[in-house]
């Protein structure tokens, strides 16, 4: 479902930014409040306001992994917060009190920080994503953010941009000279889960259709089975997803697939119960993990990972499948090896990122 705000609240300081100009051009007639500063918790019924502000902090940060679990060394480029897709399990419900989507419009500052960051460690492989605190493509039809990011990354020999989304809003990507440096990634779940728990997001068919189109435009794609949800019939549900996935996309062009079962900070539980009293995602048994988050009991996690791993590798043996935030024990039991035996998770993914670069001519 395309995001369309009912009102824009724009800080005057970013009035000249290309993103603001673009949204004013793409959405004429949308009411606009010009303000000096948007307060932390601005009003906006049901998150219907789009706040466009100047971000004053660090745009690029390491993914907040913990010392207890294998972290993939991902970095987050934070260009906005909140999301309107309304997934029942969304962690952002506990992070941010305002339901409004907020866009950081001082893109020049972000690009400058990013450039400095990349120059600081030119030998590193940088895997960078924008989909941590919002959906990477949620606002793209309105602000054309990808027109700025994809060309920037195309010129970075050792940095990869991963656009993670649950939308099918990929039209703008078609004509871009991405040089293989942008990966488009979708989070996947069985159709019945999408209908119940990700009701505002694109259907499975739409997501896979978008992935197919992106592959056709030479993009490498990635998939995240995250959150994997246990429900009666989950095996069959995920089997169908895998079958549909491989009937839609060429497995050779999948750069990586991650698996991560549902996990959340305990404070989110009450929020979910209040907002979505009919959801069944809390039915399974949860135990506190080493990082304090509630997770499925380890045996179930292992069972789900092993099942998906076997299913995926059974179709294409050269896939790079990894676990998001899991311990060595769980890796060993589910996959038969630990990341360290393959040089560490970060290195595994770096190799993958480098090895399948698409030539610049595409």
């Amino acid at each position: 479902m395309m995001y369309f705000p009912q009102r824009l609240v724009i800080e005057k300081e970013v009035g000249d930014s290309p993103l603001v100009k673009r949204i004013l051009a793409t959405s004429p007639g949308l009411p606009v409040d010009w303000v000096d500063r948007v307060p932390e918790n601005a009003d906006g019924e049901n998150g219907s306001f789009l706040e466009i502000v100047k971000f004053r902090g660090r745009f690029i940060k390491p993914c907040p992994g913990t010392r207890f679990y294998n972290c993939c060394g991902y970095q987050i480029l934070n260009l906005g917060i909140q999301c309107s897709l309304g997934c029942t399990y969304c962690i952002l419900q506990a992070y941010f009190t305002s339901p409004n989507v907020r866009l950081f419009a001082n893109l020049d500052d972000a690009i400058q920080q990013l450039t400095e960051h990349l120059n600081d460690s030119p030998d590193h492989i940088h895997r960078i994503g924008t989909g941590e605190f919002t959906d990477s493509l949620l606002l793209d039809p309105l602000i054309h953010l990808s027109e700025h990011l994809v060309p920037f990354f195309a010129a970075q020999p050792r940095a990869i941009l991963e656009l993670k989304t649950k939308t099918a809003q990929v039209d703008l990507l078609e004509k871009m000279d991405h040089r293989g440096q942008t990966i488009v990634a979708w989070s996947l779940n069985p159709s019945e889960v999408i209908a119940r728990e990700e009701a505002g997001a694109a259907t499975l068919e739409e997501r896979l259709g978008a992935a197919k189109r992106c592959q056709g435009w030479g993009y490498r794609v990635a998939f995240h089975f995250d959150p994997l949800l246990a429900y009666p019939g989950w095996r069959k549900g995920y089997q169908e997803v895998v079958e549909r996935l491989f009937s839609a996309v060429d497995p050779g062009g999948i750069v990586w697939i991650s698996l991560g079962t549902l996990r959340f900070m305990p404070t989110l539980k009450t929020v979910i119960q209040q907002r979505y009293p009919n959801t069944s995602i809390l039915d399974e048994e949860f135990v506190p993990g080493l990082d304090g988050k509630l997770r499925y009991f380890r045996d179930l996690r292992v069972e789900m990972y092993a099942y998906l791993n076997e299913l995926l590798l059974g179709i294409h043996k050269d896939l790079c499948i990894y676990l998001c935030m899991e311990s060595d024990d769980v890796w060993r039991e589910a996959f038969g090896y630990t990341p360290v035996e393959r040089g560490g998770l970060s290195a595994m993914l770096d190799r993958r990122a480098l090895s399948s670069f698409v030539p610049a001519s595409i």
């Binding site: 809390l282 048994e285 135990v287 993990g289 380890r298 024990d329």
Partner: protein
């Protein structure tokens, strides 16, 4: 200062149905009855004249109730004018009460609920929660406000202190029948407050998952068998029911715990030695607990455990867990 005058009031002039400034809850204290019986009314109640000719009680509702019970009328009372604003009257009632005693949780709920009609949330939280010895927080304020609609037996128990207000908070979103089922269950068996909270969460979650109401679960044959096993001490029954409900909520963890218990039993650890798995069988932190009387005994136990640690069945527990 309040504008008030003394009047002699007949008790049938008091509007007993007007509870707008009533913030007391609970039975009349025996000592108050005795005091009024013995020496009469020492402190004058404060009333407010109403436009219908009756008087609203502002302060002294319990004194007036005792006088009514004892048939003492007329009484000398202080009377506020009609023009005193409702918020001033209510504020007067609250300050008068908190100056004399600690309010019970139901009374705190009455204060916050009634004052919420006159003040905005920040004012309410900032002025009245500290006054009630409560941490000024919006969430806590709304929890207290949600107590009032609870059923009378539950409110009575909270006011008397036989049921903690925290349990009132967790019961408030439930259906009436479910609340009363929990209430009776907690009256019957000795659980600590935190265990009561845990049980409400557990039972509600089982119900959501398996499509039962909490009441059906608490009245189920499995739970009832234990509830009615009166030959066993109440504490033991309480523990067994808790364990049974936990097992129903977390079957995987329970199965793992049972398997671990079986396997460690088979292992034949020496007496005084306990193998403790990591929390929820997750992570590398296994522990061994030794109880021993002296160095020699410790050495024997250590040697015996060292021998066991080399056995395949010991290693299997460690690997599989």
């Amino acid at each position: 200062m309040l504008d008030k005058e003394s009047y002699s009031i007949q008790l049938d002039e008091v509007d007993w149905n007007d509870t707008s400034c009533l913030i007391t809850y609970g039975p009349l204290p025996d000592k108050l009855i005795l005091s009024i019986q013995t020496v009469g009314l020492i402190h004058k109640p404060l009333l407010q004249r109403k436009s219908d000719g009756l008087f609203r009680i502002i302060c002294g509702s319990r004194r007036l109730a005792v006088c009514r019970q004892l048939g003492l009328s007329p009484l000398s009372c202080e009377v506020l004018s009609i023009s005193t604003s409702p918020v001033t009257s209510l504020r007067t009632a609250i300050y008068d009460n908190i100056a004399q005693r600690v309010l019970n949780p139901v009374e705190k709920s009455l204060v916050l609920t009634k004052m919420a009609k006159h003040l905005n949330q920040p004012q309410l939280v900032q002025e009245f929660m500290p006054l009630l010895d409560l941490e000024p927080s919006d969430t806590l304020c709304s929890r207290y406000v949600q107590l009032l609609p609870l059923e009378a037996p539950i409110l009575d128990a909270i006011a008397e202190g036989t049921l903690h207000e925290r349990i009132g908070f967790v019961l408030s979103p439930l259906e009436r029948g479910d609340r009363l089922a929990f209430f009776n269950f907690f009256q019957e068996l000795p659980f600590s407050v935190s265990v009561q909270e845990e049980l409400v969460e557990t039972v509600v979650e089982i119900g959501q998952r398996d499509n039962f109401t909490p009441r059906q679960i608490l009245d189920s044959a499995e739970v009832n068998d234990l509830r009615r096993a009166h030959k066993r001490p109440a504490r033991q029954r309480a523990q067994q029911i808790r364990k049974q409900l936990q097992a129903r909520r977390t079957p995987r963890l329970t199965a793992r715990q049972e398997r671990f218990a079986r396997e460690t039993k088979d292992l034949g650890l020496p007496p005084g030695v306990r193998l403790i798995p990591p929390p929820y069988f997750e992570g590398p932190k296994w522990s061994l607990e030794f109880t021993f009387a002296g160095a020699e005994e410790l050495a024997i136990r250590l040697r015996s455990v060292a021998r066991l640690a080399e056995q395949a069945k010991f290693q299997r527990i460690m690997e599989r867990e």
